[in-house]
Amino acid sequence: MPCYSIGPSLRSLNTCDVAMTSSYIRFGNVWKRFRRGEIHDSLRDLVPAVSRQLLGRVRNGSAAALQPNEFWAVRDVSFEVEPGKALGIIGGNGAGKSTILKILTRILRPTAGTAEIRGRAGALIEVSAGFHQDLTGRENVFLQGSIMGMPMALIREKFDEIVEFSGIAEFLDTPVKRYSSGMQARLGFSIAAHLDPDVLIIDEVLSVGDFRFQDRAFGRIRELVSRGLPVVIVSHQLDRIASLCNEAIVLDRGVAVYRGDPADCIAWYLSGNRASSGDGKEEAAIQIHQLTTEGPAEVPSGADVGLTLIGTISSASAASEDVALRVRSATSGSVAFETTLARCGINLLSPGEFRVRVDLEMNLRPGVYTIEPNVINVMTHNDVGTGPLAYIQVASDPGFVGYSHLRPRMRLL
């Protein structure tokens, strides 16, 4: 992955331009060590701990080695985000995503390495954490705003916008303890969304409120991203990452295992998940060796795609097995379509190699799709074996709305 360094300093420009052109996020070889289990937190436990430390039985904080009850939450992760770049971080629970964001926002200090943000950071994280339940919505806007680092003048200036965006104007003078959790989250997001930052850090706030508000929130984030700020986003909503980011990192147990184009990362992440979940299965009678696509890797929605499936049948018990082809959206992880060879009229019976030609009409929304060949048990329908993936990208089309292409044909009557 190429690393970009920052251009010449532009100090002579006015502050706004400086912020726009030279703000950045840098994360250099960051390590973070955490402890498992309880940490002593009463004075009774302090005495033995300190005496051990004094006797030299415990290594001091700077040593590299891990104690048995410690682990690395983040291992040697580096990235750099420049203006105009949006970096998505994906990975399973406990992969270290939130730790990275906490290091970025200075809540945690890295064990080793450097985390650096130039410019005023706006974090769309825990957007209503600073609310006090006894205070009114109006009072909380000022409180939460200043906790997030907004100057009072800015809060006053944006106050009407914030209230309008949240859509809870009529309850502004009601204590937030009487709000529903959705209303609190909406107000919190609205404040955070008006931070006016130089650098944006976003963590799982895309699922706030009802679907109308989610659309509005997503639109707001898209607008902030399009301003050309450096952005780091963590989300489990992979399609959001795909549509907002132009670069991504896959984290696995604290290690950046893959980085590149968001669609590639998401495909890699999903296929990685699949490989690890396929362990420990009994040997299947059908083996799949290859699934290759023909023609261009990127096709418009509705186009035909040809694939060749190559495999072998090793024993006669193949009658109880079948091959399923699963088309999965790499952006959302959901299965868009699934069929089996048997359903298409092919019954694999004789041992030996087989080749199957598959044609699919990709009547799907733009995005990356993985095609997974899986050996399944015809009785239980469980996966008993997997094969290599194929990728198909349906070309992006700004005019496309919805999730499938219904091949409209119209004529004037």
Binding site: L43, I125, G130, H132, D134, D252
Partner: protein, 304 residues
Amino acid sequence: MISASRKGLPVDPPPPTRRTSALSDLREITRDTWRFRELMGQLTKRDIKIRYKQAVMGFGWALFMPILIVLAGLIIRLALANAGAGTVNREAIGGLAIKGICWSFFVGTVGFATGSLTSNISLVTKIYFPREVLPFSALGAQAFDSTIAGLALSIALPFLGLKLSVGLLWAPVLLLLILALTAGASLFLSCANLFFRDVKYIVQVLLTFGIFFTPVLFDASVLGPTGASLVMLNPLAPILEGLRHAVIGGQSLLTPIIEMTTNGIPVVVWHPWYLLYSTFWALGGLVLSAVLFHRAEFAFAEYV
């Protein structure tokens, strides 16, 4: 595009952690606190608002504790007068009120600030801002209460033995000292309580019984020569006694003050060294706990 395979995990981190000098720490604290002064104002306002929201007594609360202290002091004085030590006069009440407000400021702030980090856990683990802001805003809210009480007292003081003299100029100096002492204690204890939750119980006990080890309800002189100099070892004592001497007695604090007990024994109730002693505790304590707090700050979210 794969930067590291699943198997080839990075094995060794570079070890060094950075060390900073206490001076640069202090600079950072001042800069951060100044930059987040608006947040401090907002949090102080929050604490004040919450105190007076849904509270029937309103600002009466601010006067409640000082008045109780004065009443308690009066009982002690009456008892002492009955036993033949000292008299109860207007000056005694004035001194009692001054010391009572200062003591309730100290007790209120320290009690409130000790839990300020742990009661804001959700902020500490989720949003970044200089953590000093939390104990400081607890101090600010208490200072607001004490200012109300102080204003009320300043109306009554002319009838309680206020002496207009140059000695009165010592009052702001001593108030700054008690502010520094309280701020230092607040920083240290809030930080300690975050790591060790039993600190708050110890503090509660100390604050409850501290009034017996501090010349609030009584004047240092009633303890006799040895007792007076012993009680002055409490860093708060010289500040409280100094305030009384300066405001009620109108005395200069640069010369020793000697009072006679009823048995005719002279007691050195004030010495300029006392001032230096308290200043040392107040400023030294503030600087030390600020540096300690600042260095521990980055571990707060992990250990809370």
